[in-house]
Amino acid sequence: MKKLFALVAVLLGLKGLAQNQSNQNMGDMMRSDGKIYVVVAVLVVIFCGIIIYLINIDRKVSKLEKETKK
């Protein structure tokens, strides 16, 4: 039982350590990049728009292909 407690304690400790580290990295990254994530968000939106447009064209061509096969 004691061993189990020790194990849980160690695991919890490790988890806490890991969280601390990742939080620090995250904060540093956001600060050092100077809101670069805004640009990333804009690019992702533009990319998604282009992809949705491409999927639409793809579907239209598929429809035409079906119609000409008939």
Binding site: V44, L54, I57, D58
Partner: protein
Amino acid sequence: MKNWWKVLCIILLLYTIVWGFLGPIPNLDIIHETIRNLYFHVTMWFGMMILLTVSLYNSIRYLSKSDLKNDIIASEATNVSILLGILGLCTGSIWAKFTWGAWWTNDPQLNGAAITILAYLAYVLLRNSIEEEQKRARISAVYNIFAYVMMVVFIGIIPKFTGVDSLHPGKGGNPGFNTYDLDSHLRAVFYPAIIGWTLLATWIMTIRIRITNLQRTN
């Protein structure tokens, strides 16, 4: 699920855009953050070369089998490659302005890339100038082989000579990014980016091929 590769393409490119900007990079002089262009500028050229190889393969197949399907694939692969090449030239020009200080330098790598694009534009002109289908397919297939050799010589061989004065990484005796700068962080985005952009170009290519086939049946 025959469209799995389109899903893969979207996932890889979203990963490239997000992690390409937020991911860690090596600390480099002069280049600084612009090393992230590796995921966008360099991948254009990789995609172009991969699609031009697809085009070459189909041209050779056309010459041995005389199947017009191969001719259509070859021509549309070249069309999309030219788009990638022009994007590569423009992005490279911007990158050069902010690292070398000029939009265009008399660099063998830059001029070689420009000559390659011109050679493939000539391919498009040649195709459009011949009316008869089989004749057009045969002549453009032969020209395509010639243009591919030009591409390899002008992008792959001449700029690599140590005697040539080139600023471009990996050319003119300069060490490439892959020898000491391309660390594991860059690789983790660079390789998926190559696959992603190539798949996107392939997607556009397949749509163009299908439209051409529809036009032919009507």
